[in-house]
């Protein structure tokens, strides 16, 4: 029974479990996500996914269907409403249906698994998403990634990696992915699948074929563990953050593939130096980090960058210039962050 929330240090550790799970399921193409609950749970999430999708230049509308429970469904149980909705969605040409629960149906104890286990001529994947059980946005992401993983079976492994749990709602999702593939290219390692970012349901079947999983962030460790248990795939717990983080990431991936990375690391170090050389105008400036924007990973790597450029970081409020630390993924992430800092410092 959930009693107290997780320690909160970023907004991803709050938020709605359902929204987290939908940020994953809506990225499986030609599938529908049924939200078993009152229609407001769907409306709110539709708006949010649509708006963030537009920010990332995605014009496809999220395919969400609500079982639209009302009071009589709560009193008599919502199982019939779920079955009706499943039957009607199954008549459409979708490759799979995801069923996500909400707080109220888990409160009244609807047997979602029993309804979903009936035959609908299309795969049905249940993602438990009742938020009041203590879950957060992050748990929703993890629950979805683990639930969908059961679709794939273990099989032969190739020299490639999976990208696990990209933050599909973040503004820089493509830039961050591109940076990771740039680093992988240096090592000559291809990406198997982006699990889950703009993927077909069939492609999920290849989930077990990678030699290594690269998680987007350390909070996805339960997903990494689950995939390791299911497919035997080892994982690197995070995308690279900051300068030294990027180098150690390259080192770790190379080690997993038994590649000698020394010359590649030298090259990357040089690229980092060239990048910093482009921002010498920031040297000796004074600024402070905006405490509202801070998360721990971000602050560490931002502090490192500031040190490298000899920017004096003061306590919040003591400097007129306030910088948003951000979480710079890889060296190009650092470069984008420095462009932002330059605008903030010269503003």
């Amino acid at each position: 029974m959930s009693l107290n929330p997780l320690p909160i240090h970023t907004s991803r550790f709050g938020g709605c479990t359902l929204t987290g799970a939908l940020s994953v399921t809506t990225h499986v193409r030609n599938t529908s996500s049924i939200i078993h609950g009152p229609k407001g749970c769907t409306h709110h999430n539709f708006s949010l996914l649509h708006a963030t999708g537009l920010d990332n230049e995605t014009v496809t509308l999220p395919d969400l269907v609500s079982t639209a429970l009302c009071e009589s469904d709560i009193v008599f149980g919502g199982e019939e409403a779920l079955q009706r909705t499943l039957e009607s969605v199954a008549e459409r040409d979708v490759n799979a249906i995801f069923v996500l629960s909400t707080c109220i149906v888990d409160t009244i104890g609807d047997d979602v698994a029993a309804i979903c286990s009936r035959e609908y001529d299309v795969p049905v994947v249940i993602v438990p998403t009742a938020g009041f059980l203590g879950g957060t946005f992050q748990n929703g992401v993890s629950n979805a990634l683990c639930a969908i993983a059961d679709v794939a079976a273990p099989g032969p492994v190739n020299d490639c990696v999976n990208i696990i749990g990209e933050k599909n709602l973040e503004y820089e999702v493509e830039e961050n992915y591109t940076e990771v593939t740039r680093l992988l290219d240096l090592l000559g390692i291809p990406v198997n699948i982006r699990y889950v970012h703009d993927l077909t349901f069939d492609e999920i079947g290849a989930l077990g074929a990678a030699r290594l999983n690269i998680l987007r962030e350390p909070a996805l460790k339960p997903v990494g563990d689950y995939l390791k248990q299911r497919f035997g795939t080892p994982f690197i717990p995070s995308f690279p953050f900051g300068l030294s983080g990027t180098l150690s990431f390259v080192e770790a991936v190379a080690a997993a593939f038994g590649i000698d990375s020394s010359t590649i690391l030298d090259k990357e170090l040089q690229f980092q130096q060239d990048t910093l050389d482009g921002f010498t105008d920031l040297k000796g400036m004074a600024a402070s980090f905006d405490p509202a924007m801070s998360d721990l990973d971000g602050v560490d790597s931002s502090t490192e960058v500031a040190k490298a450029l000899r920017i004096h970081i003061k306590n919040p409020g003591t400097s007129s210039v306030s910088l948003s630390p951000g979480t710079p993924v890889g060296t190009t992430g650092v470069r984008r962050m420095l462009h932002r800092w330059r605008r903030q410092i010269h503003a």
């Binding site: 009071e71 009589s72 469904d73 709560i74 009193v75 008599f76 149980g77 919502g78 199982e79 409160t107 009244i108 104890g109 609807d110």
Partner: protein, 270 residues
């Protein structure tokens, strides 16, 4: 208008007591409404001569709530007692507590909650907020606990005291413990034990109802004792209860006992 609610352990005789109380009250020339607040829907059956009346939730389920009228859910039984059953979901699905809340809202909308006395007969324990509904929002002001001298029955009654204590401490609350009804199982010293229990929880024993075969006979004949054997001592007992309920002015905030205290109390009356 007096609004009373009977609470107690499942199977302790709340519905039998409620139905006979309603029948006795109607014999005093009063306009009585009895509302069964239990998905089992058998509260008013003896008043309705063995018939299970359609429940509010049955109708909502089939038709939605808009077109339902009061005459479809309120039925007149023995001696003009008006009977309503809240009903609820099938066992094992849905949320019966929410069903009670929805029923109250509907009855409120119909203007059904009127008369001289409303008797709410509520499911066993107050398992969730929904079943506390009759004690909230100013519905039942007088709560009666029905118990025998058995420990588990006293335990349930004591638990309900906790709910009353919590609810009565709220500023707008008007619900109070009005007394304890002992529906006896023919244990030795039962009346003394339940009277002492009532005293300890800051209330009093309002009526001792002895165990009598006439109750079973009346039930088998699908009648209340008041109707089946009006001249019996048992019927007189229910009439006395009715008089005492109408004259009762002793309403308290209960002081529930700790389990050890309850156990040693029961032990001392073996």
């Amino acid at each position: 208008m007096k609004q009373i609610a009977l609470y107690g352990k499942g199977g302790i005789g709340k519905s039998t007591t409620s139905a006979n109380l309603s029948a006795a009250l109607s014999g005093m020339g009063l306009d009585i409404l009895q509302i069964g607040c239990d998905p089992k829907r058998d509260s008013t059956r003896m008043l309705m001569h063995g018939n299970f009346i359609p429940t509010v939730m049955d109708l909502v389920r089939v038709r939605g709530e808009a077109p339902i009228t009061l005459s479809e859910v309120e039925f007149t039984g023995f001696n003009g007692v008006r009977c309503v059953e809240a009903g609820g979901p099938e066992p094992g699905v849905g949320c019966a507590g929410r069903g009670i809340i929805a029923t109250f809202q509907l009855l409120e909308k119909f203007g059904a909650l009127k008369g001289d006395v409303i008797v709410y007969d509520v499911l066993g324990d107050v398992v969730c907020g929904g079943f506390a509904m009759p004690m909230r929002e100013g519905y039942a002001q007088d709560v009666y606990l029905v118990t025998s001298g058995e420990l588990m029955s006293l335990y349930a009654a004591n638990n309900i005291c906790k709910a009353i204590q919590r609810l009565s401490s709220r500023t707008k609350s008007t619900c109070r413990l009005a007394g304890v009804i002992c529906n006896a199982k023919n244990q030795p010293n039962e009346e003394e034990l339940v009277a002492e229990f009532a005293k300890r929880v800051n209330s009093s024993l309002i009526q001792f109802i002895p165990r009598d075969r006439v109750v079973q006979l009346a039930e088998l004949n699908r009648k209340t004792v008041i109707e089946y054997e009006p001249a019996s001592a048992q019927a007189e007992c229910y009439r006395t209860l009715a008089t005492r309920v109408m004259e009762n002015t002793h309403f308290t905030i209960p002081t529930p006992l700790e389990i050890d205290e309850l156990e040693s109390l029961a032990y001392s009356y073996i």
